[in-house]
Amino acid sequence: MSTNAIIYISVCAVLLLVSFFANRQKTLMGLKRGWFMFRNILVPFLNILILVSIALFLIPPSIISRYLGPESGALGLLIAAVVGSITLIPGFISYPIAKGLITQGASYAVVATFMTTLMMVGVVTMPLEIKYFGKRVAITRNLLNFVAAVIIGLAVGMVL
């Protein structure tokens, strides 16, 4: 078992115990909510694990490190930023993909940029955003977030 799992399970156990002694009913409700959330993401999550394991087998690490690795330079960042901005991948699904990319030789800066643009910029959801905030605000927000996302990605890459 990984250290991650041990930490999560310990934290979970402590919180459960404290919560249980504080209020049984609330604890049960919390468990129920957690279970519902888990159930909702389980199937899509398994699907993405399947997809990632097939993709990792089919795409050789040499290609990933050439286009997304430390030597890919601006091109790698550009690919990450553009793909991250225009795709609509649910957050929890993007993490196994990100980890797969890193194990196959992608650089932290590229993966971080992909993640930040994915989270912060939404080209596909722009029409909806315009309905809420109007054209000017939606476009400005996405532009600013795009620039910020690339800088944040670069910063993460520099530190890690």
Binding site: I9, L15, G30, R33, F38, L49, V137, R141, V156
Partner: protein, 176 residues
């Protein structure tokens, strides 16, 4: 019959993959075996922490009430106001378009333009369930650096938007 098919549709990839795994082992298809091993490893990795994470998130959901935090929206300026919207965003879940109705609610309640955009920024990047998964997959260092670098940007964007929209009659619409 139609209902039945719809139910199966949800699981179609899992079923196909299970068949693929079985066939790979039955016919000693090496590529299939390698893929299966990769899948098995990532499945084990996920199943060891995800249930615990969701119990933690569920407990959070019950003990830290979003409604209570929402009562304080609009009050307090400066750091206090910012902390409230960031905290509120951290407790949310789901994709960004789920934040727009909340932004409408914030606007209705009199939150400042600045805090509305700080909320949106925090929503994109600081949701607790997402942070939990991110730490497990990419490590605490990655998450720490990313969040710490992001926060000043979101606050900066908030201030910029406030300045930019000052005399532009900013409003948030509701849909449907």
């Amino acid at each position: 019959m139609k209902k039945y098919l719809k139910k199966i549709q949800r699981y179609i990839w899992l079923i196909l993959f299970a068949v693929f795994m079985l066939l790979s082992f039955a016919f000693h298809f090496d590529a299939g075996k390698t893929i299966t091993t990769g899948f098995k490893d990532s499945l084990i990795e996920m199943i060891t922490f995800i249930p615990a994470l969701f119990i933690i998130v569920g407990l959070f959901d019950v003990w830290v009430s979003k409604e209570k935090i929402q009562q304080h929206i609009g009050q307090g300026s400066g750091i206090k106001g910012i902390s409230i919207v960031v905290l509120l965003a951290m407790l949310q879940a789901g994709p960004l378009y789920g934040a727009f109705p909340v932004a409408y609610m914030l606007w209705k309640k009199g939150a400042s333009i600045r805090n509305i955009f700080i909320y949106l920024g925090a929503f994109t990047s600081f949701k607790i369930p997402m942070l939990g998964i991110e730490i497990a997959y990419l490590g605490i260092q990655f998450t720490l650096v990313r969040t710490l670098v992001s926060l000043p940007f979101f606050i900066g964007i908030g201030y910029f938007m406030e300045w930019y929209l000052k005399d532009k009659d900013f409003k948030v619409n509701t849909i449907g």
